[in-house]
Symmetry: C2
Subunit: 194 residues, 2 copies
Amino acid sequence: MPTRPGGRTARTRRAVLEATVAELAAHGYGALTVERVATRAGVHKTTLYRRWGGKQGLVAEAVEGFAAGAAEVPDSGRVEEDLRRWARSIVAMLTARDSGAVVRALFSTGETAEIRDLRRRFYRTRSALVVPIVERAVERGELPTGTDAAEVIKQVGAPLYYRFLVIAEPLTPAAADLAADAAVAAARAGVFAG
Amino acid sequence: MPTRPGGRTARTRRAVLEATVAELAAHGYGALTVERVATRAGVHKTTLYRRWGGKQGLVAEAVEGFAAGAAEVPDSGRVEEDLRRWARSIVAMLTARDSGAVVRALFSTGETAEIRDLRRRFYRTRSALVVPIVERAVERGELPTGTDAAEVIKQVGAPLYYRFLVIAEPLTPAAADLAADAAVAAARAGVFAG
């Protein structure tokens, strides 16, 4: 059987990863089993064990796909606008029912080594995608030379995840803009160019 | 029996609330029972039911006491210094074994209405204590008139809780200073004086 992209193997893989994310959203990491994912995807469980080794490998790949798929990477030519769009896409992800449930499954769950690994994958995947927004702004001279791009990206996300996970305050477009504007103002002032 | 402060009733109350926080740190909210707290405090459980009604009332008061007790409210006369000290006290709380475990028990636990109520109590208690730092800075003319003090306080805490709960990055004094400096820079730029 060929494994060309778009072929049957690729379709099966996509269906399995989507089923994994759906199970994570519906029941959380603890209750997720390879069997349940296989049933939801309509695939025999031996296929999943063969390809992903087991639950952890399967969820790791599904979470990375989810993290990348939910991210929009704007490139408007202005850092304020790019970071506002990025902040709004975080808000959209956190407030949509299914994707919000996935984030809760990752972050509002007891600490285990597996969960910590999934959190890191989620965060690294998303951060790597949008760090170029800040790097481009430094190249254009909008932000000081030496600005730590990853810190600026953290600064945009932090107030939004904080609202979602800690203080349970509404995630509005205004909250997104505020998070972006505060990060840009601090970056302009050179706080992240230590 | 008199109920004067420092008397036996006050000592019992303190012992019970401390035992509640210790149980929360050791076993989380789900496993906490009035019986376990009573045993740890060396008090009969009927005393606890009489005074607090049950688990939820008991934990609510204990969490508010914990939130206030762990907070230092600096007043150095300079907003940068005050917010750096506040940020460092957040880092100290999150990195100390027992208090860090309490915060995890509140925030890395599945969502229930009770947990949400406890989170709100924790956050409101702490925010109310330190909002005056920012209000004093506005009065002294260090920050723009109309600055939303609660937003500035959120901005200081957000990157620290984000590191602790989401991205699992080290909580260092440098991270505390960065969180404070970024909040002050954004506030100076008028971002929170919308």
